[in-house]
């Protein structure tokens, strides 16, 4: 009996015919008919019309038939939800069957049917199956929870399936554990809700490590992938995990090996750098990686892409294994090309071997491959200075072969070598010139022209050579045209007498006959330079060039660190972070972070690239800007201040950051306010802070002593006396009774009394502005100090500053106008209504949770912050509340306290926070989530300040 006949069905009336057969009484005939239906389904025919008839066949004790019907159901249930309900009864019945295979089959299939009504019925059987006596049913049910979560996440959380799943982590059967791990990992990956996160503690880790030895190869991969997300609490734990994972390196399944490598690479980061442990572990990593290269080509490809990352992160691992990357004659081309990955690790010792090999490749057939080989030779030359000469002679040999594309590639490469080692290898120029005619690619032509121009004085017939290019000027690509223009100008500057005509010609070609603006502009610039000041032209055109570096094809360190966390996965194959190719999936930030190395982890003798990893490894993608930013910010201020100046004195502008005097617009900003300022201090009525005019001592008490609810940083000197003709201004910011103040201390260090004080702010990021005029006891006699408080409003003009919290202030007195800038502490901007509702009573919505979920995970930033006084959660929460950081909810997970907090800035930006407090630990973990990423560093700082200082 063969099944292939089902693929060739008669065309006409086919559906009708099938219908008849499906309703036949004979079992065999029914089965045949269902097979035909499945076959049509596979080739893409629409057989959904047969739905009721197929479902009718479901009630059968023939397992093969049942499986076929289920297959059909999974495909079409979504398009016929009402009909699908017909199947529910059979499913529920099957879940009670005595045969565990049937029970599992029913649960497995039900989870694949994405129809709401069916999922409702699924809950009860699923709950039972999760506790089934048979491990086969349990392992199937575990995966089913993940399926259900994909359909309806809320349902899974509400029904408590997550807890049941967590219990399965301690199941006696290793395969159940593995599937539970896989399901939990997937759920915590896709769900941002804190409840769905997979909490891993030492006990779970131990269970997983135990199951690792016993489950199937695939299960081992699930477990290893989950392990790689765990953050060990100290060196010792990291070390013991590494020790228990190391045996996996000898597994025959490449997936297991790669996942183990991932765990170990991350583990090494936690252990620290120069320990002997890491050194031995590195040695153990090399042989398995090499072995991967003798597996199937596709696996080899994945392995090579990963080795590329690993070698960049830890160049020592494979430094003795150069030979295995040598390409074999009949490797598939993608493997051949990927073998290049290892070549960045060429060193002085192995360079001879590598070069011999590269030269061999350069005579291969595949053009791409050959080009890469030639390029690699150039890279070796640039990287290993001692080998440069050898490389150059190898390149020369290759040029002698006269194979067109080899020659062209070689010339491009030689140009780079010239730039790296000026005045060393120019003797070969004559050889290069022989090949001028054969160059037909823009890259190669441009390179050659560059060489001729750069070394025009050494090439006797440089003018002839360049002239020959000039004939077809308009047919060249822009790159070549630009290069040619520059080269001829260089030539002219070097040999002005013979080449005047030539330069005239090229300049007129570039400026008059060309449509390309770049070319034309460059032409005009040269022209003008040459006609006005040839000496300057020489300085510009023949200026010394910076040397080029060799690390051009390396990944950025932050990206590399992120990718190391994704070893074995698709991200490591693409060398892109998952966000670049995974659609709308929430990616949990902690996954992408390597730990910041502890103090012991200084760059070791091994010389690996070991700069501490920045906290925000996640590239910010959907960054919302807080405030519209203008490039002309400084110009504005300058204009404003100038308009305010009574007798401008240029040197005073020294106190400001150097600003281009471009845009003098925006003069009106301070205009109005200024008039009133000049008119003399006029107190604004209704402001509660009219005590501001009181004398020094009292101001002090008011400013810092009593009723200071929020944290107030100590006063800083903002404007030192020498810069302001004897006036010293120091100050800070504070909040009292929900009013924001700038507390200032003015000191007169000059010989004459001061008066007529006035103050004005420039536009700033949060629209801070004085709410009343500055009230200083006037006159301020020499040697006297005055403490003044200035109430602030937040409705002033807004403009994004850099740094964000910068506030530029102008202060005037009877002598002059002075400028200074200060930083606003962000907690000044926290508002008293920053408490987000945890749950909305009326609509029963979890506001906080919903908001948390709404913000993309890429906007989450995590940081370790200090808790020097080792405050308990209550203390922390109270202190933060005084500064308007409100605790919404508190949970205790595995002995750690989690505080969920919210705060709101004056401009309406919400920041949500999760604070993880470990008892008796001097640090805690702060995760911030907000739509406006710019404020995050400031908020982190505020947290640290408030907690450290109170």
């Amino acid at each position: 009996m063969t099944d292939s006949k089902y693929f060739t069905t008669t065309k006409k009336g086919e559906i009708f015919e099938l219908k008849g057969e499906l309703n036949s009484d004979k079992k065999e005939k029914k089965k045949e008919a269902v097979k035909k239906v499945i076959a049509s389904m596979t080739v893409g025919k629409d057989v959904s019309a047969l739905f009721p008839d197929v479902v009718n066949c479901m009630q059968t004790d023939n397992l093969e038939l049942k499986k076929l019907v289920y297959l059909y159901l999974m495909n079409y249930a979504k398009s016929q939800p009402d009909m699908a309900i017909m199947a529910v009864n059979t499913f529920v019945k099957d879940c009670e069957d005595t045969n565990p295979l049937i029970r599992a089959l029913a649960v497995r299939t039900m989870g694949c049917i994405r129809v709401d009504k069916i999922t409702e019925y699924l809950c009860e059987p699923l709950r039972k199956c999760l506790k089934d006596e048979d491990p086969y049913v349990r392992k199937t049910a575990a995966v089913c929870v993940a399926k259900l979560h994909d359909i309806n996440a809320q349902l899974v959380e509400d029904q408590g399936f997550l807890d049941q799943l967590r219990e399965l982590l301690s199941d006696s059967n290793p395969m159940v554990v593995a599937n539970a791990v896989a399901a939990l990992s997937e759920i915590s990956d896709t769900s941002p809700s804190p409840a769905a996160q997979m909490e891993m503690n030492q006990q779970t880790i131990n269970k997983l490590l135990a199951a690792l030895n016993e489950c199937t190869e695939w299960g081992q991969i699930f477990i290893l992938d989950a392990l790689s997300n765990y953050v060990p609490k100290d060196d010792r734990e990291a070390q013991s995990i590494c020790e228990r994972v190391t045996p996996r390196l000898a597994h025959s399944n490449a997936g297991v090996v790669l996942s183990a490598v991932k765990v170990l690479m991350k583990g090494m980061e936690y252990v620290g750098m120069e320990t002997e442990f890491v050194t031995t572990l590195q040695k153990k990593l090399a042989p398995p990686l090499v072995t991967l290269l003798s597996s199937e080509p596709e696996v080899q490809y994945v392995a090579l892409r990963n080795i590329n990352l690993i070698v960049q992160k830890r160049p020592d691992i494979l430094k003795h294994e150069m030979k295995v990357f040598f390409v074999k004659y009949n490797d598939p081309i993608y493997v051949k090309l990927e073998n290049w990955t290892s070549y960045p690790s060429a060193t002085q010792e192995n360079i001879a071997q590598v070069l011999a090999e590269l030269k061999e490749y350069a005579t291969e057939v595949d053009v791409d491959f050959v080009r890469k080989s030639v390029r690699a030779i150039g890279r070796c030359a640039i990287k290993v200075e001692q080998a440069a000469e050898r490389c150059v002679s190898t390149l020369l040999d290759l040029i002698q072969t006269k194979v067109n594309y080899v020659v062209q590639e070689a010339i491009v490469v030689i140009k780079d070598i010239f730039r790296k080692y000026p005045n060393k290898y120019e003797s070969i120029i004559s050889t290069l010139c022989e090949n001028l005619e054969s160059l037909d690619e823009p890259d190669a032509r441009a390179s050659m022209i560059w060489i001729v121009g750069e070394y025009a004085e050494r090439i006797d017939n440089a003018d002839e050579l360049l002239e020959s290019f000039l004939e077809g000027f308009h047919d060249e690509s822009t790159q070549v045209q630009l290069q040619l223009l520059t080269a001829i100008v260089k030539l002219f500057l070097k040999k002005p007498t013979e080449t005047q005509e030539l330069v005239q010609q090229v300049l007129s070609l570039a400026t008059q006959d060309s449509d390309n603006p770049d070319l034309r502009d460059r032409g005009y610039i040269y022209w003008r330079l040459l006609s006005t000041d040839p000496a300057a032209a020489k300085e510009v055109v023949l200026a010394e060039k910076p040397l080029i570096s060799s690390e051009t094809d390396r990944l950025e360190p932050t990206l590399l660190d992120e990718l190391i966390c994704y070893i074995a996965s698709l991200a490591s194959v693409y060398h892109k972070p998952p966000s670049a190719f995974v659609e709308g999936q929430a990616l949990v930030v902690r996954r992408t972070q390597l730990p910041v190395r502890s103090a012991s982890g200084e760059p070791g003798a091994t010389g690996a690239t070991e700069s501490p990893v920045p906290q925000q490894a996640q590239p910010v993608q959907q960054q919302q800007s807080v405030i519209p930013s203008h490039d002309t910010a400084m110009g504005d201020l300058l204009g404003d201040l100038l308009s305010m100046d009574l007798n401008p004195q240029p040197q005073q502008q020294m106190s400001m950051t150097p600003a281009p005097q471009q845009d003098m617009g925006g003069m009106d900003l301070l205009g109005g306010g200024l008039d009133s300022l000049l008119g003399g201090p006029s107190p604004v009525a209704g402001m509660p802070a009219s005590q501001a005019s009181m004398g020094g001592g009292l101001g002090d008490i008011l400013g810092l002593g009593i009723s200071s609810t929020t944290y107030v940083p100590p006063k800083q000197v903002w404007l030192p006396a020498p810069k302001a003709k004897g006036l010293e201004v120091s100050g800070t910011f504070s909040i009292r009774q929900n009013v924001r103040y700038m507390d200032l201390t003015l000191k007169n260090n000059a010989m004459a009394p001061m008066g007529d004080f006035a103050i004005q702010f420039n536009k700033n990021s949060f629209g801070l502005s004085p709410a009343s005029a500055l009230q200083v006891p006037s006159p301020l006699s020499p040697g006297q100090t005055a403490d003044v408080t200035l109430p602030l409003g937040t409705n002033g003009p807004v403009q994004k500053m850099d740094p964000l919290m910068n506030l530029q202030v102008a202060m005037k007195n009877n002598i002059d106008v002075f400028y200074f800038s200060c930083l606003i502490p962000i907690h000044l901007l926290f508002t008293e209504d920053g408490q987000m509702e945890y749950a909305n009573q009326t609509s029963d919505r979890k506001v906080f949770l919903a908001t948390w979920k709404d913000i993309p995970d890429s906007n989450e930033v995590q940081k370790e912050i200090a808790n020097p006084n080792q405050l308990d959660p209550k203390g922390i929460s109270d202190k933060l509340q005084q500064s308007f950081i409100f605790t919404i909810a508190q949970r205790n997970v595995d002995g750690r306290d989690m505080l969920y907090q919210s705060l709101k800035l004056t401009n309406g930006i919400w920041v949500l926070a999760e604070l993880k407090i470990q008892p008796r630990s001097p640090t805690m973990t702060l995760s911030l989530k907000t739509r406006a990423l710019d404020v995050i560093p400031q908020v982190q700082q505020a947290y640290e300040l408030i907690i450290a200082n109170m």
Binding site: D3, F7, V43, L63, E64, K67, L68, Y70, N75, N99, L101, Y136, V137, A146, D150, N173, M175, N179, A182, E186, E214, T216, E217, W218, I221, D225, R244, P247, R248, A250, S252, N253, A254, G255, V257, L258, S259, V290, S294, E298, V299, V302, A303, K323, F326, K328, Y329, Y334, A356, T401, A568, S569, L570, S572, V573, Y574, F581, V582, E583, Q585
Partner: protein, 433 residues
């Protein structure tokens, strides 16, 4: 995880399509056909990303197998799974071909349902799968005990072996299969050489036997304190070898290997690959190839190739084949060889010289005159001379020291098991430039 699995024939027609996840639509099937199978330029990577959907493919004979996903899956796992899938299908119905797949499509769907759940690979061990996925469908009447036995095996710790196996004669076949790879410069300098070895076992043992396997690995011997015993010198003249790396079948207890360096396991029934290993040091190269090429003018070349066998005279190498590439513009070839048969194969641009067998420490040579058509083409880049052979020893020097079988429950002992050991060294890529 894996979102779907498709199987296509060489024309790009879908033979099997199974979708596991909702994010994979029907158009994914066509996307792969259009962009990879029918791509104008040959696709240069086994992983392709089309419109944010990633495709992993392998090609076996002229059948394409592709896994689709929209997530950041473990790429190693996916390819290993595809290879496993091929293996499972082969063990069910032999060669992977369009006909075989069409003939067994119901079976394949059933297998796909079992070994991938929501895209997560489950137990894919053929010996276990065969107990409950049979080509005739599950026997309707299985007893309750049998059912639970099946499920416990599928999920069990020893998922690769079922219980209650009985043989009248307990027998073991052990093959040490090695591939020697060599790349030699024309001057006779070894550029790279390594041995990729496999230990393949066929076990026909009753019950749940516990096996212990020992080889002359330097590490093990040094550890157990045994010094080099001169009486144990092997065919290649050394008593222990340095293994660069090895991997094991999942039945081997890896943690025990890590700590004690002992290879212990409960074997699957029938044939399986116990171990793979790799060595690079002290390889005894069975043959040396010495080429001599002389260009006589523009239209004539003389080639002389000498091969020398380098092993014990009592041993015989078999199936020797030397392949000497010739230029593309060859018009005629005259070959003279003392032994074996040599032929110029124009379609392959090579002279193929075959020898049935050759003893150790012997020498043989071939000389050829190649006439060339005058051509102005660029210089011919000479591909390496390659060689194939089979020798009855392990070029790495690996020796099996012991293989002990313990079965505590049944009453047969290690002595009752009949054991056969065989060494075969084959050429992998054995090339001389």
């Amino acid at each position: 995880m894996i979102g779907g699995l498709f199987i296509y024939n060489h024309k790009g027609e879908v033979l099997i399509s199974r979708v596991y996840r909702d994010d994979i639509g029907r158009n994914a099937v066509d996307a792969f056909r259009v962009n990879v199978i029918h791509a104008r330029q040959q696709v240069r990577s086994p992983v392709t990303n089309i419109a944010r959907t990633s495709f992993f493919h392998i090609k076996r004979s002229n059948i394409w197998l592709a896994c689709v996903t929209k997530q950041n899956v473990n790429a190693g796992l996916v390819f290993e799974f595809l290879n496993k899938m091929v293996e499972v299908m082969q063990s069910y119905f032999g060669k992977i071909s369009e006909d075989n797949i069409k003939n067994n499509f119901v079976l394949i769907y059933e297998l796909l349902d079992e070994i991938l759940d929501f895209g997560y690979p489950q137990n894919a061990d053929t010996s276990i799968l065969k107990t409950f996925i049979t080509q005739t469908g599950i026997k309707a009447q299985v007893t309750k005990e049998e059912q639970s036995q099946i499920t416990s095996q599928v999920t069990g710790q020893i998922s690769w072996r079922r219980e209650g196996i009985k043989y009248r004669r307990n027998e073991l076949f052990l093959d040490v299969l090695e591939n020697v790879n060599l790349l030699m410069s024309p001057q006779g300098q070894v550029l790279s050489a390594h041995v990729a070895g496999r230990i393949v076992m066929k076990s026909y043992l009753s019950g749940m036997p516990e096996c212990k396997f020992g080889i002359n690995d330097k590490l093990v011997l040094d550890k157990s304190g045994r010094s080099d015993d001169p009486s144990k010198v092997s065919a290649t003249g050394k008593s222990s070898i340095a293994i660069d790396d090895c991997t094991f079948h999942q039945c081997v207890r890896l943690s025990k290997f890590e700590t004690e360096h002992s290879i212990s396991f409960i074997p699957p029934d029938g044939e399986y690959e116990l171990m793979r290993y790799r060595t690079t040091k002290d390889i005894s190269l069975p043959f040396r190839v010495i080429p001599l090429v002389r260009e006589v003018g523009r239209t004539k070349m003389e080639v002389k190739v000498v091969i020398k066998s380098n092993f014990k005279p009592s041993l015989l190498a078999q199936k020797i084949e030397v392949r000497i590439p010739t230029p593309l513009n060859t018009s005629g070839v005259q070959v003279i060889c003392m032994k074996g048969k040599a032929k110029y194969k124009a379609s392959e641009n090579a002279i193929v010289w075959k020898l049935k067998r050759m003893g150790g420490m012997k020498e043989s040579q071939i000389s050829a005159e190649i006439e060339l058509l005058p051509s102005d083409k660029k210089k011919w880049s000479r591909p390496p001379i390659s060689m194939n052979f089979e020798v009855p020893f392990a070029p790495s020097g690996l020796k099996v020291r012991y293989l002990k079988v313990f079965e505590p429950k049944l009453n047969y002992s290690d002595h009752d098991v009949i054991k056969w050991v065989r060494y075969i060294g084959r050429s992998g890529l054995y090339e001389t430039r």
